[in-house]
């Protein structure tokens, strides 16, 4: 007999972040992959290469702004670089709160999808 599915939801105050929107998840995941000092162009490219979604650059920035307002990422301004026509970069670093939000989102998703994977397999 199979044991009933365990509920892995842990109620932690620190985890009670607002649910992440679709864009926000993509950007956070991209950041997670890219590590520190990712910026708009690399984040956008990562998302495009992995999901095929061609996002508008300005949309990425709106999302980064929102994440920063929620305290999930931190941004700082980098040095000017000639390849960018002498313009500076806005470097984005994930904060611990961001990691927690991402984990929480992942746990929620996994809890809901448990047992349904084979039906939702990418076709």
């Amino acid at each position: 007999m199979r044991s009933p599915p365990r509920l892995n939801i842990v109620y932690d105050v620190k985890d009670m972040t607002q649910p992440l929107g679709d864009f926000e998840q993509l950007v956070l995941l991209a950041l997670f992959r890219l590590g520190d000092d990712a910026y708009g162009a690399t984040i956008r490219r990562e998302i495009e290469q992995r999901t095929g979604r061609d996002l508008a650059m300005s949309a990425v920035y709106v999302t980064i702004d929102r994440l920063e307002a929620k305290g999930l990422v931190r941004t700082r301004v980098g040095d000017p670089i000639p390849e960018r026509g002498g313009r500076r970069r806005k470097l984005v670093t994930m904060q611990p709160a961001g990691r927690r939000a991402l984990s929480a989102a992942y746990r929620r998703f996994k809890a809901m999808i448990d047992g349904l994977e084979h039906r939702l397999d990418s076709r």
Binding site: Y39, G40, A41, R44, R45, D54, A56, M57, S58, A59, Y61, V62, D65, R66, E68, A69, I81, P82, E83, R84, G85, R87, R88, R89, K90
Partner: protein, 878 residues
């Protein structure tokens, strides 16, 4: 790769930059730049450019909210750039959605606008081709033509120039940088030695001709005075068409020798297509012209066209005075030939299009009327739609939308409709132009064949913008102003005001429509009168073609005899002859001086074989016609020649000198009835017929064949017959004579087609406008009708009541329109033939026709008033 090569498209960058908030701009642009380079290297620069433009586009129409940190203040009341643009982008999306939800309105609006813009774009296209397009020569405004001129019945008539006059005036004038001439009469030369012999249109030009225009050759170089030496065969310049068709556009033909008319000529260069058309009639090859000593004293044969370039600072009027003085000097030196010869100068740029210029002005006006009518319909549509959106606007005003904001939205909506309508109009104009090119005069046809070009697109865009201003401003202002009141006021009063405005619009439409209808009817009537004119000869059942003839008489005579023999044997052929110039083709002027007199008489010279009178069916009025054996030089003149040379006297037996008082003597043996040679609309010009002989002044080159069967059915048989006589003969310009006569009315038919088209569009649009108005009025006055019927009114009375408005609109519209037509009758005069522009029958007929259609369009929806159920009408009025 250099840094430049990898910089993104400047304009896309500008667009993106404009939309981005200040605090984000640098970073976003930097990222876009970096990604652009990455893509350019990974894929291609083209791909990267496309991606960048997509990004810029999305930045333009996207949203750019800014998350405010706790320490920032919200932005002030003044709209930032991004804020305004956000709204406009939203308005565009909203407008498109609105059109999707109201397809009937969208369709009606787009169609109406398409008709208005299409008509105007088509006329613009024609105007561009004929008058507006800049000539392809440097400083083209200084190019002029010099003419001989004569005072005749108070008007100054122009004529081509005799070589003697050309030579004298070339040295005697001081206003010109360059004074050149070209042969204005048709000459053809056979090109042999490369495939089948081909007959080319040749033009002989003096050394100054090409330098005056300053056009660059397509290949090789132009002909100049240095190239022309008396005695040697002159070098030639080919046209682009001949270079491509006969020589496959090979560059090595330049410098080579080609055989024209059996004589070798060196090819100097090739002129582009554009030059050949604008410098005069079609030319295939230009040859250097030498005027020998005899020609330099020829003041009687007017066969040269003269072109010149004004010196800097010299006006046309000064140039005219200059050539007039020169003409007077020549008259003093040669009083016999130049007794009445004056001179004048015209600007090549301004005489383009000739008679078509005036017509284009008229047609532009007509097209503008169509646009106004269309805009009136659109304004009505907008008003009606505005009424149905009363609640929506009322609510928005209550929520704080300013009048300006609402107006901007309405304008944006109108712009969207205008953009779609302009695109549809452009497509329609393309179709109109294609149809027109079938009835267009030959000179216009090539220009109209090209597809839509930039100037037309710009014109369509400008027109759409103009119509937005015309049809959107009033309704927009009204809607925005009254929006606030609509919630409070009863819709009925606003409705009444709208109905009043629409009635005004309909009245205006009717006025414009009747003007167009009268104009169109006048043109149609004129054309039918022109077509009824008797040309004096019978063009039906005659075909003509050109052959290349030997210079000497005997071989030429034998050639014709053989051709006549072969063609006469064909079934259906009743008569054959040869002539130097057929009626309604290019023709030139010759002077004749009556013996014992000094007054010269101008006439069209015709050298004919005796059968031509029978072929053309010219009526003999006195004396006799030619026989095949004439012992002396004899001639036959037309009535008008006799009247001019020997008024009230018998011309038979009299003698004339050819060209000048001491010229060769020709005896008149007969008089034939006048016949028209240039146009059905002018009076007959004198003609002088001489029998073809060894001494005749001109050479017949065209064969005319009268047939009892349709001429076109014999075309291939005729070609075969000539080939049997001489396989090397190029049978050129094979055509039916009545087609040639018909072509002379092509300009008239062209103007007519456009005006009739416009009048039809105006009629349809006006009818639609009236229908819409009355449908609206009936719906609006439903409760009133219900009351009347409840009180005992008969349905017929109710309908008549509705129609009172129609009678008023139609009456006022017709009166205003007819008054306008009367006022513009002076403009129309030039385009009419034997018809008064204020012809009362036509005014009456057009009024009755338009009035009937208008009343019918009003009556159909008004009938519904009779079927209103009083009970439900009253109930709905609560």
């Amino acid at each position: 790769m250099t840094a430049d090569h990898l910089s993104p498209p400047r304009w896309a960058e500008r667009i993106a930059s404009w939309r981005l908030p200040d605090d984000r701009r640098e970073f976003v642009l930097g990222d876009l730049d970096e990604e652009f380079r990455h893509r350019a290297i990974q894929q291609s620069r083209a791909d990267a450019t496309r991606w960048y433009w997509r990004q810029a586009w999305r930045t333009l129409f996207g949203r750019h909210p800014r998350i405010l940190t706790p320490f920032e203040q919200p932005p002030g009341r003044e709209p930032e750039r991004a804020h305004v643009m956000n709204n406009i982008a939203a308005d565009v999306r909203y407008a498109l959605r609105g059109l999707r939800h109201h397809p009937t309105f969208a369709l009606a609006a787009v169609l109406t606008l398409a008709l208005g813009v299409g008509a105007n774009a088509a006329v613009f296209r024609v105007a561009w081709q004929v008058i507006l397009k800049p000539l392809p020569y440097p400083d083209a405004s200084r190019l002029v033509r010099v003419w001989e001129a004569y005072q005749r019945n108070g008007a100054l008539l122009t004529n081509t120039v005799a070589p003697g006059n050309f030579v004298d005036w070339q040295t005697d004038t001081h206003s010109f940088d360059g004074f050149g001439a070209y042969t204005a009469l048709r000459s053809t030369l056979d090109l042999t030695g490369s495939g089948d012999p081909v007959q080319l249109e040749a033009r002989y030009v003096t050394g100054d001709y090409f330098p005056i225009f300053g056009a660059a050759p397509l290949a090789g170089r132009i002909l100049t005075s240095a190239d022309i030496n008396e005695g040697d065969p002159a070098p030639v310049v080919l046209s682009e068409r001949v270079w491509r068709q006969q020589f496959g556009a090979e560059r090595n033909v330049i410098g080579q020798s080609i055989k024209l008319g059996g004589v070798p000529h060196t090819v100097l260069g090739v002129m582009p297509e554009a030059f050949g058309v604008s410098a005069g009639a079609t030319t295939d090859v230009w040859i250097g012209l030498t005027l020998g000593p005899k020609e330099r004293l020829n003041h009687g044969g007017h066969y040269l066209g003269v072109v010149a370039r004004l010196k800097p600072g010299v006006t046309i009027d000064r140039a005219i005075a200059d050539v007039q003085t020169a003409a007077l000097h020549t008259r003093a030196a040669f009083p016999d030939s130049n007794k009445e010869t004056l001179a004048t100068v015209t600007s090549i740029e301004e005489e383009r299009g000739g008679t078509l210029r005036q017509a284009i002005g008229l047609l532009s006006g007509a097209a503008a009327f169509v646009l106004l009518i269309a805009c009136a319909n659109l304004a009505s549509l907008q008003l009606a739609r505005g009424l149905s959106r009363a609640r929506e606007f009322g609510i928005r005003t209550a929520l704080g939308a300013s009048r300006g904001r609402l107006m901007v939205q309405l304008f944006v909506e109108s712009l969207v409709v205008a953009a779609i309508g302009a695109a549809a109009g452009l497509a329609l104009s393309s179709w109109i132009v294609t149809v027109l090119s079938h009835v267009a005069p030959a000179t216009l046809r090539a220009g109209l064949a090209a597809s839509v070009d930039w100037p037309t697109m710009a014109a369509a865009g400008a027109l759409a913008l103009l119509s937005v201003v015309l049809f959107a401003s009033a309704p927009a202002w009204q809607t925005a102003t009254r929006a606030g009141r609509w919630i409070n006021q009863r819709v009925a009063s606003v409705d009444r005001h709208a109905a009043f405005v629409r009635t005004i619009l309909v009245t205006g439409q009717l006025a414009l429509a009747v003007m167009l209808l009268v104009g169109a009817t006048l043109l149609v009537t004129s054309l039918s009168r022109v077509l009824r004119v008797d040309p004096g000869f019978d063009p039906d059942g005659v075909l003509t073609f050109d052959v290349t003839v030997p210079n000497r008489f005997e071989p030429r005579d034998q050639l014709f005899a053989a051709i006549f023999r072969e063609t006469q044997a064909l079934p259906g052929v009743t008569a054959v002859c040869a002539i130097n110039a057929v009626p309604f083709d290019e023709t030139f002027n010759m002077t004749y001086v009556s013996e014992g007199d000094t007054k010269p008489v101008g006439a069209f010279p015709r050298t004919v074989t005796p059968g031509c009178f029978e072929v053309l069916r010219l009526r003999l009025l006195a004396g006799r016609l030619f026989t095949s054996h004439e012992s002396t030089r004899v001639g036959v003149v037309t009535q008008s020649f006799a009247r001019r040379a020997w008024p009230n006297l018998d011309p038979v037996g009299r003698r004339v000198h050819l060209g000048i008082p001491n010229g060769a003597i020709i005896e008149i043996i007969g008089v034939v009835a006048d016949s028209l040679q240039r146009s059905l609309e002018t009076t007959a010009y004198p003609q002088f017929y001489e029998v073809a002989s060894a001494q005749s002044a001109f050479i017949p080159t065209t064969v005319m064949v009268r047939t009892s069967v349709p001429p076109a059915s014999l075309f291939s048989a005729v070609r075969a017959a000539v080939r049997r006589v001489d396989p090397d003969q190029p049978v050129a310009r094979l055509r039916a004579l009545d087609d040639l006569v018909g072509a002379s009315t092509s300009e008239r038919r062209f103007n007519l087609s456009l005006l009739v088209g416009f009048a039809s569009i105006a009629l349809v649009l006006s009818a639609v406008g009236i229908y819409g108005l009355f449908a609206h009025v009936v719906a609006q006055r439903r409760s009133e009708i219900g009351i009347r019927m409840a009180l005992g009114a008969v349905p017929g009375t109710v309908v008549r009541l509705m129609l009172r408005r129609a009678w008023l609109a139609v009456g006022v519209g017709l009166i205003v329109g007819l008054a306008g037509t009367y006022g513009l009758s002076g403009v129309l005069q030039h385009l009419l033939f034997s018809l008064s522009p204020t012809d009362p029958w036509i005014y009456t007929g057009a009024s009755v026709a338009l009035g009937s259609i208008a009343l019918l369009a009003a009556w159909i929806p008004s009938r519904r008033a009779a079927s209103v159920d009083p009970v439900s009408a009253l109930r709905d009025a609560q």
